[in-house]
């Protein structure tokens, strides 16, 4: 067990991954703010922050450009901002358009793609395109070299692994072998090699309706000139992800399901030979030493309060303890799986985290050692 500093020490990029609803955005922002406060120039790339969190960072809209967060905003939390915190909300569609603009061989191709209906669907809706664009932007900002450290908050997705496959899927999509069929200028259905394929196309026409295929064909033809650029780019994005200067942090919650997902996700990252720094478990109910069975707590409470209040306090405590025990079991399970890697537990704070002050509370836990964290949690510093 360790602090976030052990995970990010000597690195330049931290990618926060995990399923939806586990506090990924908050964690990303807290890591970035903490590193910035300690003197680094840090940019955090987030996807869809809570409005109030975005407001508190001074982010008004999606604009695809990192903005510096005013150091004064940290003063109420008693934090001295020694470095710089920059933040950006990703606009996936605009990023995709940018990529097309940068790679298109000429203005005509560029416009053909940007106006193609399949492209418009794809850039908005295709699972994985948002994920890919997040990494594309990360790559771009990394290339510019304006920051000491970058934190990427990966998009919320049903399958936390989507983004890993995203560059591959997208390049496969645009360079795929099937695409050759569409490149024949005189029409694909008649020119495809092999009887099986042409029959398949015939059946396909019956099932789908031809217009869809025309759009696809048009799309692929327009994209064909950009295949090399895309492939090269995706390769470099993948290299950046696997670079020793990059570290992945899996973010999860303490309940059974999120823990299982974190375990699964960690395995996949390891299989993909990506550098995993550790896991951050949010909203943990810390265990206390107290033992309700002994009756000691009840006796102490009865000395302080009337029977009714003492009983309610004891019942509430019992419920809390049950959750704390569950969380401890789940975190243990996770720690065994991670085998020596770092697990950081962030307690369930009393207030929802959506402003800078609460964010800096999270920060105190992130940057503390395990012993300090236990002490903080026990003192009720929520």
């Amino acid at each position: 067990m360790a602090a976030i500093t052990d995970i990010v020490e000597g690195r330049g990029i931290c990618i926060c991954a995990g399923s939806g609803g586990v506090g990924k955005t908050t964690t990303s922002a807290a890591i970035a703010a903490g590193l910035a406060a300690r003197g680094q120039k840090v940019a955090v790339l987030t996807i869809d922050p809570a409005k109030r969190l975005a407001d508190s960072l001074g982010l008004k809209e999606l604009d695809n450009e990192p903005r510096m967060v005013d150091a004064k905003l940290f003063e109420p939390s008693g934090v001295e901002m020694r470095g710089e915190l920059w933040a950006m909300m990703l606009d996936a569609k605009a990023t995709f358009d940018e990529v097309v603009r940068n790679h298109a061989p000429d203005a005509e191709t560029r416009d053909r793609i940007l106006e193609n209906r399949i492209y418009r669907q794809l850039s908005n809706a295709l699972a994985g395109s948002q994920e890919y664009m997040a990494m594309e932007k990360l790559f771009e900002i990394h290339q510019e070299g304006r920051y000491d450290f970058l934190v990427l908050d990966t998009p919320p997705s049903r399958n936390a692994l989507d983004f890993l496959d995203a560059p591959k899927r997208l390049t496969n999509f645009i360079e795929g072998r099937g695409m050759q069929m569409f490149m024949k200028p005189t029409g694909f259905a008649t020119k495809v090699v092999g009887r099986g394929s042409s029959m398949a196309m015939g059946v396909l026409k019956r099932v789908t309706g031809l217009d869809l295929l025309t759009d696809l064909s048009e799309f692929f033809q327009a994209f064909s000139g950009m295949v090399d650029g895309f492939r090269e780019r995706a390769k470099r994005v993948s290299e950046l992800l696997a670079d020793p200067a990059t570290t992945f942090v899996v973010v999860c919650g303490p309940q059974g399901e999120p823990i299982e997902e974190a375990v699964y996700f960690h395995r996949k990252l390891v299989e993909a030979k990506l550098p995993v720094g550790g896991v951050i478990v949010n909203k943990v109910h810390y265990e206390t030493e107290a033992d309700l069975e002994s009756g000691e707590v009840q006796a102490d409470l009865s000395d302080l309060f009337d029977d009714d209040l003492a009983e309610r306090v004891a019942n509430n405590f019992a419920d809390y303890q049950a959750l704390a025990q569950r969380d401890a079991r789940n975190v243990d399970r996770l720690a065994r799986e991670l085998n020596q890697k770092r697990v950081i537990r962030i307690p369930y704070l009393d207030e929802d985290v959506h402003d800078l002050e609460a964010l800096m509370k999270i920060d105190r836990y992130l940057f503390a050692s395990e012993e300090q964290r236990e002490a903080l949690a026990a003192s009720g510093a929520g």
Binding site: G21, V192, R329, D352
Partner: protein
């Protein structure tokens, strides 16, 4: 029984991690207890029903998990295969297509096709006269739908698709699916939220998008996992005052109580925000203080729906 369950098809949606799967199953248990033959559909890869009912085999087939209650995990590839089987009566032709490289390539590449065939399968399950041979007739189909963001796109797929494929059978079928899910008499939506800032915001914008952009009827918003109000403000003052006098084990208990009180207050504030932000009736559900959700606690939850 909630009116929602009188529909034929119900989508349960909301932000990730708010308990959609739990509530889908609880709604299923509630309907089943009233004698409705009900099926809960998970979208591939969730498998909550398998876990809760300890049935390892819930996959792309309908499995009875409890009295009157079935479960299925809808896999888009399987749905596409089944769709083709129904579409193309000649087995050889279908086999040829499924094996064909270009077909598989196109199927994978076409934006939204997976979502479309998934909704197609859901629609098929909701038909009185099932397309699938010897298909069981259900009174109610409950879908544990994808999370917000993906959720709106998912339900919009038929309409988008009808737009992409301007003519042809897919166009017609996509239109029929869209008509079905936007028919307020047949299809409804339950949005699940929890009493925290971001889920409340998302629930409100989700309601707007589903109502205005998709045109589907939102019938119920559930505020899930609400803590009981165990302590009054006066209690809290008394607890605060006792902090100095208390030590050891009692101190931990008092801190837990104060923490519960603060969280509870913030939750009530979020509940009020939600009620102001949505036009659909909000129903509250209690937080379940259980390490692991079992069938018994789900049944209790079902009673509260």
């Amino acid at each position: 029984m909630p009116e929602l369950l009188n529909k034929r098809l119900v989508f349960v949606t909301g932000k990730g991690g708010v308990g959609k799967s739990t509530i889908s199953i609880a709604l299923g248990l509630r309907a089943a207890a009233k004698g409705k033959r009900t099926i809960v559909c998970e979208i591939a890869g969730q498998e909550t029903a398998s876990r809760v009912f300890r049935r390892a085999e819930v996959g792309f087939h309908e499995v009875e998990v409890s009295d009157n209650l079935w479960a299925i995990s809808i896999d888009p590839d399987e749905s596409l295969r089944e769709y083709l089987l129904l579409q193309l009566k000649v087995r050889a032709m279908r086999d040829m297509l499924v094996r064909s490289k270009i077909f598989n390539y196109l199927a994978a590449a076409t934006p939204g096709l997976k979502e479309l065939v998934t909704i197609g399968k859901i629609w098929e399950l909701a038909q009185h006269d099932r397309r699938v041979k010897k298909g069981r007739e259900y009174d109610l189909v409950i879908v544990d739908a994808p999370a917000t963001g993906h959720g709106v796109g998912f339900l919009q797929t038929p309409r988008t698709f009808a737009g992409i494929a301007r003519v042809g059978p897919i166009h017609n079928q996509a239109q029929e699916l869209d008509r079905y899910i936007t028919d307020h008499a047949t299809t409804g939506v339950a949005i699940v939220s929890i009493p925290e800032e971001m889920p409340v915001n998302e629930s409100a914008s989700l309601e707007g998008q589903l109502t205005n952009d998709v045109g589907i009827s939102v019938d119920r918003v559930y505020m899930n996992a609400l803590y009981p109000e165990r302590f009054s403000n006066d209690d809290a003052d008394e607890l605060e005052r006792a902090l100095d006098a208390a030590d050891g084990q009692a101190l931990g208990a008092i801190r837990a109580a104060l923490s519960e009180h603060r969280r509870c207050r913030s939750q009530r504030a979020q509940l009020q925000r939600l009620k102001r932000a949505v036009s659909t009736p909000v129903k509250t559900l209690p937080f379940v203080f259980k390490p692991q959700l079992d069938v018994a606690s789900l049944e209790r939850l079902a009673g509260a729906l």
